[in-house]
């Protein structure tokens, strides 16, 4: 496996095809969103301009993207913070065995395995029976958290598994309280991992559709808005939105990568 065998080139070629498979469609809509005003939904390209990118911000025939985007953004941030707090707290507790830890663990995993449709339906029914209004900020938030917290939690478990308790013991020997130990020693050490979890939670929430579909209430999140567009009238503005959203996610990831590197470098000092 050390030398560049035939297998290497075969696998590398396969990998290249795979990347093409992954990115091909996105490149297509990138091209299509740069069409001029006469552009249609399929190739060939007609004209070249940023017209459709601008159109994204106008009121569409069905729905409004900007509102949906703002809601998804805000919701994403809230989900990010809550997922981090909840999973880190639980992760801290899971460093030792306690009664009920197995049950909670399987419950968390179950949240990932139960098909999203069921969670959406369940929350919707639960709210209806209780007489509450579904709302993107209450039921929608809950639905998103059932998806992000398990991922965050599993990653936190991994982080704490590899965590060296020597630092904490040193802090305690020097007389620091539990809370101080956490803030001054543990948190800075796990910070890079938390950044990754934060970004993951945000994007999972930002893109989430199935779980939210029945519980968003009157106001849609962005993915729901987009779905509405696909089933009704569409225009290249949809493709432009796709391009913008992808660029947005990309920028976030680059920022996260840069942040992660900065934090890791500071740690190794």
């Amino acid at each position: 496996m050390q030398k560049r065998s035939v297998t290497f080139y075969l696998l590398a070629g396969f990998f290249g095809l795979f990347v093409l498979f992954l990115y091909g469609p996105m490149l297509t809509i990138l091209m299509l969103s740069l069409q001029g005003p006469e552009g249609k939904l399929t190739l060939p390209m007609r004209g070249f301009s940023f017209y459709w990118l601008g159109q994204v911000f106008q009121e569409q025939r069905v729905g409004n993207f900007v509102d949906g985007f703002q809601r998804s953004l805000l919701l994403g941030v809230v989900v990010l913070v809550l997922s981090l707090v909840i999973s880190v707290m639980a992760g801290l507790a899971f460093r030792q065995r306690f009664r009920g830890s197995g049950a909670l663990f399987y419950l968390t995993i179950a949240s990932l395995i139960v098909p999203s449709v069921l969670i959406s339906l369940g929350i919707g029914i639960a709210f209806q029976v209780l007489g509450l209004q579904t709302n993107w900020f209450s039921s929608g938030l809950g639905a998103h958290l059932t998806w992000t917290v398990p991922f965050a939690f599993l990653i936190v478990l991994g982080i704490f598994n590899r965590f060296n308790p020597a630092y904490e013991e040193a802090a305690r020997d020097l007389g620091a309280s539990d809370v101080a130990t956490f803030w001054e020693v543990v948190l800075p050490l796990i910070a890079p991992g938390l950044l990754g979890i934060g970004i993951l939670s945000f994007t999972l929430s930002y893109d989430e559709f199935v779980r939210t579909s029945l519980v968003s209430g009157q106001k849609n999140t962005l993915p729901l808005e987009i779905f509405g567009m696909t089933t009704n009238v569409t225009s290249p503005a949809l493709y432009a939105l796709g391009t913008l959203t992808t660029v947005f996610s990309f920028t976030l990831i680059l920022l996260a990568f840069w942040g992660y590197n900065k934090l890791s470098k500071r740690q190794s000092q």
């Binding site: 496996m1 297998t7 290497f8 696998l11 590398a12 396969f14 990998f15 992954l22 990115y23 469609p25 297509t28 809509i29 299509l32 939904l41 399929t42 190739l43 707090v85 909840i86 639980a90 899971f94 030792q96 009920g100 830890s101 909670l104 419950l107 968390t108 990932l112 395995i113 139960v114 098909p115 449709v117 069921l118 969670i119 339906l121 369940g122 929350i123 029914i125 639960a126 029976v129 958290l145 059932t146 478990l157 539990d178 893109d207 559709f209 199935v210 029945l214 962005l222 993915p223 779905f227 089933t231 949809l238 493709y239 939105l241 796709g242 959203t245 996610s249 990309f250 990831i253 990568f257």
Partner: protein, 285 residues
């Protein structure tokens, strides 16, 4: 005193997570179960206890056909993502020397998944449609006389779309398993004269089964419950359980949808448990 505070602290720490799942997972599922026994009087639910919904479900031809169709998709998508995912993960784990390059390539595979599923599904339409790029290419090189019909709004498109969307769920766990294999085991096998294929079959494959299992569980549950990809790629003609439930919800027949949902849950859980029976993933977690 110190000990009781410590245990209280532990329970306080897990309280939010426990509360979250009790409220938004356990309670909703229980509610679905309860509602599945209610009646529907034409426009609203009526609390009662009846097996009607389940009997309608089990006596209907549509239900069986829909489930079989969905299981068909599960089988196709699972095999495709398994093969593709394993090959990609294998390449990344064993054939990439530089660790930084490996991370970058892994990110290259992961980044597309940070775009909304819907948008990624829609992006296939200009490629696969009758006037799409692929067809134009095929006609141009003369491979076909007319545009190929079955590229879009067909089972092929659905499986393609799902594989496109879900393969990261297979790649990541398998990649993780492969990376955790102790390299000295592989060297030992080679020292004892094993060929590449033998090393793969006897050493690597058995050690990667937990990754395969986790990936399979994800893919199975995602496909079983999907209705978005099927709608967009299938043009509304293909049947799936998720879509059936959506339709029932759309006509406000909540009790029927709930009964359907319980059956879906049971079938999915059965599949997950059988995967877990075959592979023990406890050691991975």
């Amino acid at each position: 005193m110190l000990r009781s505070w410590k245990s209280l602290e532990t329970y306080l720490l897990v309280a939010p997570q426990t509360l979250l799942f009790l409220l938004f997972l356990v309670f909703p599922i229980v509610m679905i179960g309860i509602v599945s026994f209610w009646e529907f009087n034409g426009f609203a639910m009526v609390p009662s206890f009846t097996w009607d919904n389940y009997s309608i479900l089990f006596s209907s031809d549509v239900t069986l056909k829909t489930y079989i169709n969905t299981l068909k998709f599960v089988g196709l998508v699972w095999s495709a993502t398994l093969v593709i995912g394993y090959l990609v993960a294998y390449f990344l784990a064993f054939y990439v020397e530089n660790n930084t390059v490996r991370i970058i390539l892994f990110l290259v595979c992961t980044v597309p998944f940070w775009t909304s599923n819907i948008i990624r599904s829609i992006s296939w339409i200009p490629l696969l449609g009758r006037e799409g790029l692929v067809n134009q290419l095929l006609v141009a090189i003369g491979l076909v006389q007319e545009p190929v019909e079955w590229l879009l709004y067909s089972d092929f498109a659905i499986v393609l779309g799902m594989v496109h969307l879900f393969n990261i769920f297979m790649i990541a766990p398998i990649f993780n398993s492969l990376m955790r294999i102790d390299r000295s085991l592989i060297t030992a096998a080679q020292d004892m004269g094993a060929t590449g294929f033998q090393t793969f079959r006897e050493v690597i494959l058995p050690l990667s089964t937990s990754g395969i299992a986790i990936g399979s569980i994800f893919v199975v549950t995602l496909v079983m419950g999907d209705f978005v990809t099927i709608r967009i790629m299938g043009g509304g003609q293909a049947a799936s359980v998720g879509k059936l439930i959506q339709t029932q919800i759309g006509s406000l027949q909540y009790p029927l949808a709930a009964a359907n949902a319980m059956v879906l849950l049971a079938v999915t859980m059965a599949m997950v448990i059988s995967i877990l029976r075959v592979v023990n993933i406890r050691k991975e977690l």
